[in-house]
C-alpha cells in the first residue's frame, strides 16, 4: 500500500475544483494551477525513486484486495510518463499564461486544464481496465471542452467531429470490456494477465484484443488518424501543444500496457499487425508532412509519424525495441509539445500558417530560430539530441525481430521528417526579412521561457541519456516481464 499513488490524480482534481469556486480571481488560478502541476511532478519523481529502490508500487483503493477492487499500480514506465506529463503540462501552462486570453481564462480554462491532467495521470496509473475507461473519459471530456473553448467556427466544426469519433471509440471500448468480462470474468489487468495465460490466448481472446487495438488506435492515431489533423490544428497553440504532447500518448500507453501485460501470447498475429499498422501510419504521415505547405498541417502529420515509429518498437517485442520505445515516447512527448509551441509562435508572429507567406524571422528572432533548429534536429534523431537513442534502439529491436522492412521504413521516414521540418525552418527563418518587429502580429514576450525549458530538456535528454538510461531499462524490463507487475499487484 502506498497512498502516494493517488496524489497525481487527486491534486489536480481537488485544485481544479477549488479553482471553479474562485472563478473571478485569475491570478490565483494561475498560481494554483502551476503549483499543483509542479506538485504532481514532484510526486512522480518520488515514485520514480521508489520504483528504482523497491520495485513496482501499488495501492488497493478502499482496502479492497486485488481482483475485487480498483488497483493503482505504478511501475517505472508509468512513473516516467507521469514525470514527463508534468513537465510538458507545466510548459504548456506557462505558455498559456501569456497567450490564452482573458475570455478563455474566465470560462474555466485552468480548471479544465487540470481535469485533463487528472485524466491523463489516472490513465497512466490505473491497473484496472474499466477504471482506464473512466480516466479516458475524464481526459476526453476535458479535451472536448478545451477544443471548443472560445467557440470559433472552425473550433466548433472540428469539436463536433472529434466528439463523435471519440464517443464511438468509447462505445467500442465498452464493447471490448463486456466481451472480455464475459470470457475471462475479471477486469483487473494483473488478474487478466494471469487468467489469459492460464486459459491460453485462443481465437476469441485474440479477436477481443483486436477490438481493443482498434479502440486505442483511434485514440492514439495509429492508422485511424483521419480526425487528428483537423482537431489538432483548430484550438489555440497552448491547447494544441498539450494535445500533441499528451493525448495520443495516453492511447499509446494503453496499447503498450495491454499488449505487453495481457495479450502477449500471440505476437505473430497481434504484434505483427501493430507493426504493419505502424509502418502504414509512418508512410501516410510522411506523405502528409512532405506534401503540405501549412505549418499546422506539417506538425500534426509529424505527430502521426511519431505514433507509427513508437509502435514499431512494440511490434518487435524485444528488450531493445522496448527500451527504444520508452526513450522515444518520453522524447516524443517533449518534442511534440515543443514544436507545436514554436510553430504556434511563428503563426502568431506572422499572422499566417502558410509557409510561402513568411520568411526571414531569424533576423528578428534569433533565439526562437535556433531553438526550432535544435528541436528539428532532435525530432529527426541527429546524434547528440534526444531522439537519437530511441531511434537506434527501436531500429535495433526491429532488426533483431527480423522485421527489416519495419526498421527500414522507420529510418526512411526519419529523413522525410527532417525534410518536412527543415522546410519550415528554411521558409520561416531563412530568406529575406520583410517583417519588421513593428509589423508583427504578436510578440514573443514571456513565452520564450517554456520554449527554452523544453529545448533545454530535449538537449539534456540526449546528452545526459546516461542519467536516465537505468530508469528506462527498468521500465523496458518491466514491460517485457509481466510477472513482475502481477506479483506486485497480488503481493500484499
Amino acid at each position: 500500500m502506498n497512498n502516494l499513488l493517488i496524489l497525481p490524480v487527486v491534486i489536480p482534481l481537488v485544485m481544479g475544483l477549488l479553482m471553479v469556486l474562485f472563478r473571478k480571481n485569475i491570478t490565483l488560478q494561475k498560481i494554483v494551477s502551476a503549483a499543483s502541476i509542479t506538485a504532481t511532478g514532484a510526486v512522480a519523481v518520488l515514485l520514480m525513486i521508489q520504483n528504482d529502490q523497491d520495485g513496482i508500487q501499488t495501492l488497493q483503493i478502499g482496502g479492497w484486495q486485488a481482483p475485487f477492487g480498483i488497483t493503482y499500480a505504478a511501475d517505472m514506465f508509468s512513473s516516467l510518463l507521469l514525470t514527463t506529463t508534468s513537465i510538458v503540462a507545466l510548459s504548456c501552462l506557462l505558455f498559456a499564461f501569456k497567450t490564452i486570453g482573458e475570455e478563455r481564462e474566465s470560462y474555466y480554462f485552468y480548471p479544465v486544464f487540470l481535469f485533463l491532467i487528472t485524466g491523463v495521470n489516472g490513465s497512466f496509473l490505473t491497473g484496472d481496465l474499466f477504471h482506464l475507461f473512466v480516466c479516458f473519459e475524464v481526459m476526453l471530456i476535458s479535451s472536448y471542452v478545451l477544443l471548443s473553448l472560445g467557440g470559433t467556427r472552425k473550433q466548433l466544426r472540428e469539436s463536433v467531429k472529434y466528439v463523435l469519433i471519440n464517443l464511438i471509440s468509447s462505445f467500442l471500448f465498452l464493447v471490448g470490456v463486456a466481451y472480455i468480462y464475459a470470457v475471462v470474468g475479471t477486469l483487473n489487468l494483473a488478474d487478466l494477465s494471469v487468467k489469459v495465460a492460464e486459459a491460453g490466448q485462443g481465437g476469441m481472446l485474440t479477436a477481443i484484443s483486436l477490438v481493443f487495438l482498434i479502440v486505442f488506435s483511434l485514440k492514439a492515431g495509429l492508422l485511424l488518424f483521419f480526425w487528428l489533423p483537423g482537431s489538432y490544428s483548430a484550438p489555440p497553440t497552448a491547447i494544441a501543444a498539450v494535445f500533441a504532447g499528451l493525448l495520443t500518448k495516453v492511447g499509446m500507453y494503453a496499447i503498450f500496457r495491454l499488449f505487453t501485460l495481457v495479450f502477449y501470447h500471440e505476437p505473430q498475429i497481434t504484434h505483427l499487425l501493430i507493426g504493419v499498422l505502424g509502418a502504414v501510419t509512418m508512410v501516410l504521415g510522411a506523405i502528409g508532412a512532405v506534401a503540405y505547405g501549412d505549418i499546422k498541417k506539417i506538425l500534426t502529420y509529424n505527430v502521426i509519424i511519431g505514433v507509427g515509429f513508437i509502435m514499431a518498437g512494440l511490434a518487435s517485442m524485444s528488450i531493445a525495441g522496448m527500451t527504444g520505445s520508452v526513450f522515444y515516447l518520453i522524447h516524443d512527448m517533449i518534442i511534440k509539445a515543443l514544436i507545436f509551441l514554436i510553430g504556434g509562435t511563428i503563426i502568431s508572429l506572422t499572422g499566417t500558417s502558410k509557409l510561402e507567406d513568411m520568411s526571414g524571422l531569424i533576423r528578428t528572432h534569433p533565439y526562437l530560430g535556433w531553438m526550432f533548429f535544435t528541436a528539428a534536429l532532435a525530432l529527426a534523431g541527429i546524434p547528440p539530441l534526444s531522439g537519437f537513442l530511441g531511434k537506434v534502439f527501436i531500429t535495433q529491436g526491429t532488426f533483431e525481430a527480423e522485421y527489416y522492412w519495419l526498421g527500414g521504413i522507420g529510418l526512411l521516414t526519419s529523413l522525410l521528417v527532417l525534410y518536412s521540418i527543415m522546410k519550415i525552418f528554411m521558409n520561416a527563418f531563412w530568406g529575406e526579412t520583410y517583417l519588421s518587429e513593428e509589423m508583427e502580429k504578436g510578440s514573443t514576450k514571456g513565452i520564450m521561457v517554456p520554449i527554452a525549458l523544453l529545448t533545454g530538456l530535449a538537449v539534456l535528454l540526449g546528452v545526459g541519456a546516461e542519467g536516465i538510461s537505468s530508469y528506462v531499462n527498468l521500465a523496458a524490463e518491466g514491460l517485457m516481464n509481466p510477472e513482475l507487475y502481477i506479483k506486485a499487484v497480488f503481493g500484499e
Binding site: F130, S148, G151, L156, L167, A182
Partner: protein, 112 residues
Amino acid sequence: METLMSILIGLFFAIGTYLILTKTLLRIILGTSIISHGVHLLILTMGGVKAGGPPLLGFEEITFTDPIPQALILTAIVINFATTALFLVLSYRAYKVIGTDNTEKMRGNEDE
C-alpha cells in the same frame, strides 16, 4: 433470454448506426445515445442474465447475480449522460454559430 437480448442489442446498434450516418446533428446525437443503450445492455447480458438473487444483505438466496456489470453500467450511464449533455450543448452552439445543423453544409474551407 440471452438470445432475445442479443437481438435487441443488434437492433439498437443498427438503428444507432443508421442515425449516426444521417446528416442532421440532432439525429446523430440520438444515434450515439441509442448505441450507448445497446452497449449497456451488452455489458448486462455478458455478465449473465438472471443468475440468482440480488446481491444485497438480508436476502436468503444462495446464488447471487454478479453485481460488477451493474456497477459498470451505472458508471457508463453517468459518463454517457455527461458526454451526451455536452454534445447537445456543443451542437446547439455549432448550429447557432455556423447557422446550419446539416453536416454536409458545415464543411467549410480550411482557411477561416
